[in-house]
Subunit: 245 residues, 2 copies
């Protein structure tokens, strides 16, 4: 499994992804799920992937080949065009190996988040479904998630809104991924992050955190201890007060 | 959808459930998902239900009828026997209305948590799957969840262990349900809870909280504000420190 998320803020975009992949329990591995396509001054695009690893790798390879030919992500005039193109490539790759009658049928599905900025157009985010169609985010829901999304959603619901700074959104993404890793073994480090400043058309700030990276470790420790303190400070039930008195 | 959970602690058992049911978006309603079977001095049993509402209501009605005849839950000698019996009743009810060839096939599946204490045997919990089979919890995983389980799992993973008091476990369950309600519209108040003291064989403490019940409201407020403060106090990224300096 996987957990990736991205937030679209007034200040720009934040992308984050874990690195755990597993094809059966005895074949757990670590792969980068964040893929970058940078043409500074013209367009900056970041892709996050979840799902069948062979499909996502085949899609990324095709995206790279097309871009090298000046096609695909290199040429798209709008983010929505890029999303539609990725959906088409994804469908092609899934169909190539789709074998529902195989003795052990395997899902070839993959889901993507593509975000960034193209020229003068505003920055944005799209989620591309395995079916090839796609959605964007909104001011009410300024973040998108793929993979194992539920464990880490509550903190995003509380913190992420369009006015949040890139740094705060990135910190919130780290907390969200930490919560997910603790509750689900199939999501694991290292964590990749990209912070893109709106209208810069420059390379995002890229960071990678392992579990023992000092900053990530300090966030994990402070959050965990703080949650426990917060919990211990919660008001008592009426009957507990009676007992104490 | 639904969210129910139960924890098995050295001190006893805690049960909690939301009350939102929906059969299509235009038919959202509120039903109690906690059902109690008390024979003080002999056996105390609490049932939590998730899934198809017609199935769960039919199962509970059958359990009631059998108990009135001195059968089923009234007679089971072990909690595991009670779990197996509930699984069988559930399967019977699902099969009665199972119609895969209907124009709009509907899932008849239901999932249950049954817990309590029978005579001298230790207290315990079982989760009964739609397939009729069942699992119990363990010291490493002393809680069970059904329905919309993921949003509320991280706080349980951090707090619930066998040594926790009934009151702390109940408070943690409230926080877990609150987080789930905030992230998922299909889980909603009121919240029902039961706290059973180990080896008492007496009726559990039963409480029900609406959103505006003073205690639940104070927990929600203090938790929400505390989380935000905790988040704001997290350490800054290196590059933020440089900016501040």
């Amino acid at each position: 499994m996987t957990y990736c998320l991205a937030a679209s803020l007034n200040a720009g975009l934040v992308f984050a992804s874990d690195s755990r992949t597993n094809a059966g329990l005895d074949h757990v591995n670590s792969y980068r799920k964040m893929h970058t396509f940078f043409w500074p001054g013209d367009r900056i695009l970041v892709l996050l992937s979840a799902g069948n690893l062979a499909t996502t790798q085949a899609v990324v390879a095709q995206l790279d080949r097309d871009a090298a030919d000046g096609e695909g992500l290199r040429k798209a005039r709008h983010l929505s065009e890029a999303a539609a193109y990725i959906g088409q490539v994804s469908l092609d790759m899934q169909r190539r190996y789709h074998a529902p009658d195989a003795p052990n049928p395997v899902s070839m599905e993959a889901t993507f988040i593509i975000g960034g900025q193209i020229g003068d157009a505003p920055h944005g985010l799209y989620l591309v479904y395995p079916q090839g169609n796609y959605i964007t985010c909104s001011d009410e829901q300024p973040f998108l998630q793929i993979g194992e999304t539920k464990y880490g959603k509550p903190i995003l619901d509380r913190i992420i809104e369009p006015g949040v700074s890139l740094d705060d959104a990135a910190r919130c993404a780290l907390v969200s991924i930490d919560s997910t890793m603790r509750s689900n073994l199939s999501v694991g480090p290292p964590v990749d992050m990209a912070l893109y400043q709106a209208n810069s058309l420059e390379q995002p700030r890229i960071v990678r955190y392992k579990l023992n990276s000092p900053y990530f470790a300090s966030i994990r420790k402070q959050w965990g201890e703080g949650l426990r303190r917060l919990f211990e400070d919660l008001p008592r039930f009426d009957w507990e007060k009676d007992k104490d008195g």
